[in-house]
């Protein structure tokens, strides 16, 4: 036998196990009960490591096709693996938009050799303009797409939102919704509040998200179907989802991990790396997101990885693109959050939580060291983009192994 993982603690079903020994046998990751250590060619001391089911990211951006300088399928897959993810939902905001079986097949074919499962979020409206529906059934029945949504674009037309929810019911499809009212956030650059007032910047009010979530919940109540709300950022948004769940509506929700790390105060230096949508909000919004994670209102944490090239971020704030790279800083962000949320809860939000939403069976394993320091720089960066405020700094928390489909991958060596 080849590799023995010695004294590894497994996080699953809301518990952290005592240190045990594991090995790979018959393409499965198994606990070692009787065999002696001498049978193994390599023994890895895992006493500072954790393991869990392989991680799932429900919201991830891609540049290919069309904007390969931001992120190719290859660079995205490598970023995902080295960040501990075995499965990711890919947003359709490429150029051309992923809106027919052709684009879906193109991305999936390219990803096959990298040993990672991509789930494509097929665009629901043509060119994600929020108006004419795409060929949703064709994408589903020909290319297996189960998740639909316009990615970083909102669906602000109530009639289209209603029709999409009705249409998806033919195959129990789920609509992934980034809910905000674009007119209420028009020209907005950051969270509307005390800080935007001091900086003289046009704000994106909480109202923009709150009103869209409320409207979309009412439409869901009318049509039936299933909505997964992405990147919640407001206190009221969390309350609305909590109430909707209690009423039995078929909703789930996630939030970007970096919503829990950064706040609007971080924008005081006008650094465009902090320019994201939804924007970093106030301390009370952040506290509500944490409560939502703890009580199960928020089912998943997502990377909301939105790679942007250097030039689109090296500019005046209002001219810079929205978005933050989110993959390789994901585990260091988890490590930071483990100060106030337990590892059991954090891991659930990237394993069992998202798994229920997209209905995946997950036989994979991610092994990571929450104590390992490393430098996030050009050398370690797997993405083609580096738009993260932590780029160039030393971070704590590193993924070590990903076991997927019978293959063990050593990452970040």
């Amino acid at each position: 036998m080849s590799v023995l993982f010695k004294n590894l603690r497994f996080i699953r079903n809301g518990k952290i196990s005592e240190p045990k020994n594991f090995f790979i046998h018959d393409q499965s990751f198994k606990e070692l009960v009787d065999s002696s250590e001498s049978e193994f060619k390599e023994i890895i001391d895992c006493s500072s490591y954790f393991a869990s089911s392989g991680w799932i990211d429900l919201r991830c951006g891609l540049g290919e096709p069309g904007q390969e300088y931001r992120e190719t399928v290859e660079s995205l897959c490598q970023s995902l693996i080295s960040s501990g993810f075995v499965k990711a939902v890919i947003m359709p905001n490429t150029d051309p938009v992923i809106q027919s079986k052709n684009e879906v097949d193109f991305v999936l074919n390219r990803s096959r050799k990298f040993g990672i499962d991509l789930e494509i979020m097929g665009a629901v409206t043509k060119n994600t303009l929020g108006e004419d529906l795409t060929e949703i059934l064709d994408m589903h029945f020909q290319s297996g797409v189960k998740i639909f949504g316009d990615g970083i674009k909102p669906l602000s037309n109530s009639d289209r939102f209603m029709k999409i929810l009705q249409y998806l019911q033919k195959f129990d499809g789920v609509l992934f919704d980034h809910a905000y009212d674009p007119l209420l956030s028009i020209f907005g650059q950051m969270h509307e509040g005390e800080i935007s007032t001091q900086l003289g910047m046009k704000g994106i009010p909480n109202l923009s998200e709150d009103i869209a979530i409320q409207r979309n919940l009412e439409i869901l109540r009318y049509t039936g179907g299933r909505v997964h709300f992405q990147t919640l950022s407001t206190k009221k948004g969390v309350e609305l989802i909590r109430k909707a769940k209690a009423e039995g509506l078929n909703v789930t929700a996630d939030t970007s991990i970096y919503q829990l790390i950064f706040k609007d105060k971080d924008l005081m230096t006008f650094d465009p790396n902090y320019k994201v949508n939804p924007p970093f909000r106030s301390e009370s919004d952040r506290a509500a997101l944490i409560d939502g994670i703890l009580d199960g209102t928020i089912d998943a944490l997502v990377s909301n990885h939105q790679p942007q090239d250097f030039d689109s971020k090296f500019s005046e704030f209002d001219l810079a693109s929205f978005g933050m790279a989110g993959l390789q800083a994901f585990l260091p962000a988890l490590v930071q959050l483990s100060q106030e949320l337990s590892w059991e809860v954090l891991i659930e939000k990237i394993t069992a939580g998202p798994s229920k939403i997209i209905g995946s069976q997950n036989e994979s394993v991610t092994i990571f060291d929450p104590t390992q320091s490393w430098v996030y720089d050009e050398k370690s960066n797997k993405s083609l983009s580096s738009n993260h405020p932590w780029f160039g700094t030393s971070l704590t928390g590193q993924v070590k192994f990903v076991f997927q489909k019978g293959n063990l991958q050593r990452v970040n060596e």
Binding site: T197, M201, E316
Partner: protein, 308 residues
């Protein structure tokens, strides 16, 4: 001679009270200079200053240029109403090209909030913010405070109402920060759609009735309606604005006290100010313009001293 604690003037928010007072004291000396028969001093004769204006400006650009010339600096001007990005060149590239010609200081006006902060991180010259979008216009606030002090003495406890389009005004924000650091009380007044929702978090009073604001204040600083910066509709018509937020001489005369009337210019006569008010004895609008040169001389002189 005292020195500034900063090598850039990006905004008033981050300038200390003692730096503000130093600038105002220095400006008083320069005001004396520019009223002499020979208005020029050799203080900056080894300094080259670039005035880079990405937004239209008449008085601020002229005021800076005069200030620079009276300090004997070498001056180059670059004006473009489009941002550099629209022309295909980045802001940093544009400025670095100008700096390659051995320029020491950059005075920049730009439509993007934070553009001078971005520039200060990426080029070597001293940066003076001559207005960045809807963020700050620090030299305007300094000259406004200087002008108020000339008229009223120390500003501690004085009441200043800023009236008009607060939402799109860099002058309002810089004035709020500057006046508060000097101990004055500040009120903002205007149609509620032109007041930032969280403006009271800055510690200012909010008033929707212009008559009440005038009754409260010692100084009314009336702002220009920034039609060019309003991307969407905030009030129905200029007629309605002038009727309910415009200030005329009759209103000023009806107060049972003398107040000081200011405006950063250019005035939309008949909109925010009637001509009889703008030209009345209450008005110190032209003093503001004169003081602008002295204050900018002080800023450039002191920043050059903090250059290394």
């Amino acid at each position: 001679m005292s020195q500034l604690s900063t090598r850039h003037l990006l905004g008033i928010k981050d300038v200390t009270e003692s730096d503000i007072r130093l600038i105002l004291e220095t400006a008083a000396n320069f005001k004396e200079v520019i009223n002499r028969p020979i208005k020029k001093v050799p203080s900056l004769r080894d300094i080259t200053i670039a005035n880079i204006f990405f937004e239209n400006s008449t008085r601020t650009r002229l005021s800076f240029e005069l200030a620079e010339k009276r300090l004997s600096a070498d001056v180059v001007n670059f004006s473009s109403s489009n941002s550099s990005v629209k022309k295909g060149e980045t802001l940093v590239d544009t400025v670095n090209n100008i700096l390659a010609m051995k320029v020491d200081m950059v005075v920049m006006r730009h439509a993007s909030p934070g553009a001078p902060h971005f520039l200060s991180r990426n080029v070597k010259a001293n940066i003076v913010n001559a207005g960045d979008g809807t963020h700050e216009h620090p030299t305007q606030a300094l000259l406004d405070s200087f002008s108020m002090q000339e008229k009223l003495g120390d500003l501690a406890g004085k009441k200043v109402a800023i009236i008009g389009d607060i939402l799109h005004s860099r002058v309002a924000l810089s004035n709020i920060f500057c006046l508060q650091k000097l101990g004055a009380e500040v009120m903002v007044c205007g149609p509620i759609t032109l007041l930032p929702k969280y403006i009271s978090s800055l510690g200012v009073k909010v008033e929707l009735d212009v008559k009440k604001a005038l009754e409260w204040c010692d100084v009314a600083n009336v702002l220009r309606i920034q039609l060019e910066r309003q991307q969407i509709k905030y009030f129905p018509s200029l007629r309605e604005y002038s009727l309910y937020y415009g200030i005329n001489k009759k209103m000023l005369d009806s107060l049972n006290k003398e107040i000081v009337l200011m405006h950063p210019g250019p005035i939309n006569r008949g909109v925010e100010l009637s001509s009889d008010a703008a030209d009345s004895a209450h008005s110190i609008i032209l003093d503001q313009v004169e003081n602008g040169v002295a204050v900018r001389m002080a800023v450039l002189y002191l920043l050059a001293g903090a250059r290394n």
